[in-house]
Symmetry: C2
DNA sequence: CATCCGCAATGGTCGTACCATTGCGCCGGA
DNA sequence: TCCGGCGCAATGGTACGACCATTGCGGATG
């Protein structure tokens, strides 16, 4: 609470955002490759029936995220994938709604696996009383709300967000928006193969460790928690057998899926 | 090579970007607090002598980064700090050029300390031949170029970027832009209190570990490397005694300034 | 054949006009 | 007096049309 909705774009849906999302998805999904030129502003205007204002603001939106570069005479061109700001909520959302998203989801969970256990460790040292209380309430929500309900999802999300906030590091807090997306994917795939009890228990262990100031335990339990979620998602992706629509990179996507063969740190 | 410049905004300097940067800095530096309203578009137009197009595109730029939200009748308002996308190169740059930046720099290095050692571990398992060669060349550059030269800075930056690229994780690659900013801060403060030889040796140890596939060593050495850089920056910040220019929050800025009472990890 | 210059394409900026949404106050009824 | 609905007006959203600035490219020139 005391927090604004963070919708897919931080503002209401209007033509500018819709147009930006359309091109954003085209770019992230690979329909437009690095160096490819977008249509000229004039062409986009006539094709989409919008004014140049909308076109320009939409392109500015994309440029702000590093997806395109613009310049007189050269037009609007797609920047190399490496220059994109993947750590942007919109860019991430566009990736996650693309037809081929498995590698991206795996990368996302790998990122969580690196950051959230460490965040839990820091949170154990720095969490304050108000945050502790919010954490307890979030866990209570996870325990009480029915499986798959919107409240449960919100509670789960809150839990992770509060841990990140408790680190006091604004950069880690910003990761919250990424986790939000990844959770929404988990839910859309099939929520938690694991029994809800087990999931709650895992969260509870993390919370107890943080509240008692045990950084090592917090890190360990958070790692296990995310690994479980990771396994769920990977399992669901393979089970559903979705997205073979790409060239043929399905098999070696598995390579990325294994972040650490033996235990850890 | 094979890479576009990633300037401060990904595009050339124009009035839109300049205006966005002006408000961006005002917001990140705390001159405008959460909930505060920016001037209306009309006021900004007359005050800055620019057209409404420029104003709107600039605000769109800020909205894309989560700094503001806009709406009819309500105007443009600053969003809570927690909603900002700190993991954006522009937002980060604005923070780093703000009068009070010490806490942010410390958060940035803490973030590096979490991610880069893990990235080094992953790189040790996944780096390919081309990346290995680029890594060797970057290290050579760090050894050969004179202290403080632009080439040295570029080589240092390349080194870290290549390690992140070698993870194959696009999200980690995006962290490269953050590291770019943090390095530029290091340089602006006073480059590497440490002797250059020692710095090169640290990088060399990381590289050897990665090239030999020793993930544990790569992680360890990368951690030490970043801790050294962290110490340098902290030391320089305290030595320079900069940024007491704020209202009166100078003393308790120290509280945030101590991310790790005793050693760590 | 090399160099320079000018054209034209394309984004950059500007100004105006009108539409859409919504906060807020006015007005009428209970 | 209090409450609720309704309309005004402020503000952003969209749309045109014009002109400026930059730059790729090809033709003119030595």
């Amino acid at each position: 609470m005391g927090y604004e909705r963070s919708t897919i774009d931080g503002e209401r849906s209007n033509r500018t955002v819709a147009l930006a999302a359309e091109f954003g998805r085209m770019i992230t999904s690979g329909d437009l490759l690095s160096g490819d030129a977008l249509p000229t502003e004039k062409e986009i205007q006539s094709h989409h029936g919008v004014s140049r204002t909308v076109v320009r603001e939409a392109i500015r939106h994309l440029a702000a995220k590093g997806l395109v570069s613009v310049g007189p005479k050269v037009g609007t061109k797609v920047r190399p994938r490496i220059a994109w700001n993947m750590l942007d909520a919109d860019v991430m959302a566009w990736h996650l709604t693309a037809p081929v998203r498995r590698p991206f989801i795996e990368a996302l969970y790998e990122m969580r696996l690196i950051n959230e256990p460490n965040a839990a460790r820091l949170a154990a040292r720095r969490i304050d009383e108000a945050q502790s209380e919010r954490l307890r309430r979030a866990l209570g929500g996870m325990r009480d709300y029915p499986r798959g309900s919107a409240e449960l999802i919100a509670a789960d999300l809150d839990f992770h967000r509060i841990v990140l906030e408790a680190t006091g590091n604004p950069l880690l807090v910003s990761l919250g928006s990424l986790i939000e997306r990844s959770l929404s994917v988990s839910f859309s795939l099939s929520w938690r193969q694991n029994p809800q009890d087990e999931t709650v228990r895992q969260h509870d262990r993390v919370m107890q460790a943080i509240l008692s100031g045990d950084g090592d335990a917090a890190e360990l339990f958070m790692r296990r928690l995310i690994e479980s979620a990771f396994d769920d998602v990977i399992h669901a992706l393979y089970a559903n057998g979705e997205e073979e629509t790409r060239s043929g990179g399905a098999p070696d996507a598995r390579k990325i899926a294994e972040p650490r063969p033996s235990g850890a740190a």
